[in-house]
């Protein structure tokens, strides 16, 4: 069994094995999925944990399953797998754009959905806002049982999860929504986005917005929804220019984070533009159908 090998990284062979191995290690251990965050610890001048449980190879965590009502994404599905599984699926354009715009081709082969959502020190996650606006929920597994929580809740509590907690999957309800994901890197190519707006809209036959979710990423420490803007847009046609104006009037609800790459004001300042672009992307997705 795991702890006895003395190795720092134990590669689990099944979900049950992983849960047991994590329980065994307690606070000293942590899951290791794509490893793309963990392996960069020395660059962040952080100590590695004394022990990890490798979960990236567990087949049960690596599939995307679709029913008429739900899409279930295993926690260890990589960005590349996610794109392959969901390209062209209604409602998923934003999510696919998020996965496809993140990082670079090699990292997309490695980094996982679960890892992207669980990295609490990483504010620029692309998948978080894309999944937030899809109302995703997350399956948690602990030695004592299972539980499903809304993604927003996970983002709030992820720093203080009970040791040994594993995210096993993400679930999204299939709804006739159109989605758009607009990220703003500093370079034209391949950067962490300094701000992200993801949007999911359901338009009625009259062209009016029946349901809308807008999520903002990278501006603050964690991605979060923009309920004030959602409320203002509800019941109106989806007009990107109008959405821009409303966003401009309401960006004050965000406090941009300062960092080496961009000042806080900048992250907030560009949000209306990203709202417009996300709305345009959602409309374009609709036109394609």
């Amino acid at each position: 069994m795991p702890a006895s090998t003395g190795e720092r990284l134990y590669v689990a062979t099944s979900l049950a094995d992983a849960v047991a191995a994590l329980a065994d290690r307690g606070p000293a251990g942590a899951p290791l999925a794509g490893a793309t965050w963990i392996m960069r610890a020395p660059i962040r001048r952080e100590e590695l944990r004394s022990s990890y449980v490798g979960i990236g190879g567990i087949a049960e965590l690596r599939s995307v399953e679709m029913t008429d009502d739900e899409i279930h994404i295993g926690a260890c599905v990589t960005h590349a797998d996610l794109i392959a599984a969901l390209a062209g699926v209604e409602g998923c354009d934003g999510l696919v754009a998020a996965a496809g715009g993140a990082a670079n081709p090699a990292v997309r082969q490695m980094a996982t959905v679960g890892g992207n959502l669980c990295t609490s020190d990483f504010p620029a996650s692309d998948l978080s806002p894309a999944l937030l606006c899809l109302d995703a929920s997350v399956e948690l597994r602990t030695p004592s049982g299972q539980e499903r929580v809304p993604l927003g809740r996970l983002l709030d509590i992820r720093r203080t999860l009970e040791p040994g907690t594993l995210v096993t999957g993400v679930v999204i309800a299939r709804k006739p929504v159109q989605t758009g994901h607009s990220r703003l890197p500093l370079r034209k190519a391949g950067d962490y986005p300094v701000a992200i707006v993801s949007m999911a809209v359901a338009l009625g036959s009259d062209g009016l917005i029946e349901d809308i979710k807008v999520a903002v990423g990278s501006v603050e420490a964690s991605a979060r929804r923009w309920p004030q803007l959602e409320a203002q847009l509800l019941g109106h046609p989806l007009d990107p220019a109008k959405a821009y104006e409303l966003a401009k009037a309401g960006v004050g609800v965000f406090a941009g984070r300062e960092s080496v790459e961009a000042p806080g004001w900048y992250r907030v300042q560009v949000l209306p533009t990203l709202v417009r672009r996300a709305a345009q992307a959602a409309l374009a997705a609709r036109q394609q159908r």
């Binding site: 720092r8 134990y10 392996m39 081709p105």
Partner: protein, 152 residues
């Protein structure tokens, strides 16, 4: 615990620690120095190898996760010593400068062309977002790759 892996078609056993980055195993233990280390943060792409046929940045792959898996490095591209068509076209177009980035670029483009043999220039450039070349300014090596795509 030793790790078994298949490198360029040969069975190998590594004795390094489980969290050792694959790149260090390849370079320091097996002297496959084709893949380079330039950042250790997944950005430069110089360490790219194929893991089960897909490109990964080997600086971020912990050794233990490679148990039993198939690793291919730039050294494997020239089957029987004959440069691959991609290597040949880069040579013909005289695009190499210091050369540090090429092992990674070749690995990324080799797998990219398997999926998109007729890719256009802009797609080739997008495929290279994870590869830094500090010498060439990219365009001429992209031209060479595009010429190969047109030829195939």
């Amino acid at each position: 615990m030793p790790t078994n892996l298949v490198i360029n078609g040969e069975d190998r056993i590594s004795t390094r620690g489980s969290m050792t980055p694959l790149i260090d195993v390849l370079r320091d233990e097996f002297f496959l120095t084709g893949a380079k280390v330039a950042c250790r943060e997944g950005i430069c792409g110089a360490c790219t190898v194929h893991l089960d046929g897909r490109p990964v940045v080997s600086c971020l792959v912990p050794l233990a996760t490679v148990e039993g898996r198939d690793v291919r490095t730039v050294e494997s591209l020239a089957a029987a010593g004959e440069p691959s068509p991609l290597q040949q076209i880069m040579e013909e177009h005289d695009v190499v400068q210091c050369g540090m980035c090429f092992p990674g670029i070749l690995m990324v483009l080799t797998s990219f062309f398997q999926e998109r043999p007729h890719a256009e220039r802009d797609d080739i450039k997008a495929a290279l977002v994870g590869n830094i070349c500090r010498c060439t300014g990219y365009e001429r090596l992209v031209d060479a790759a595009a010429a190969l795509a047109r030829r195939s």
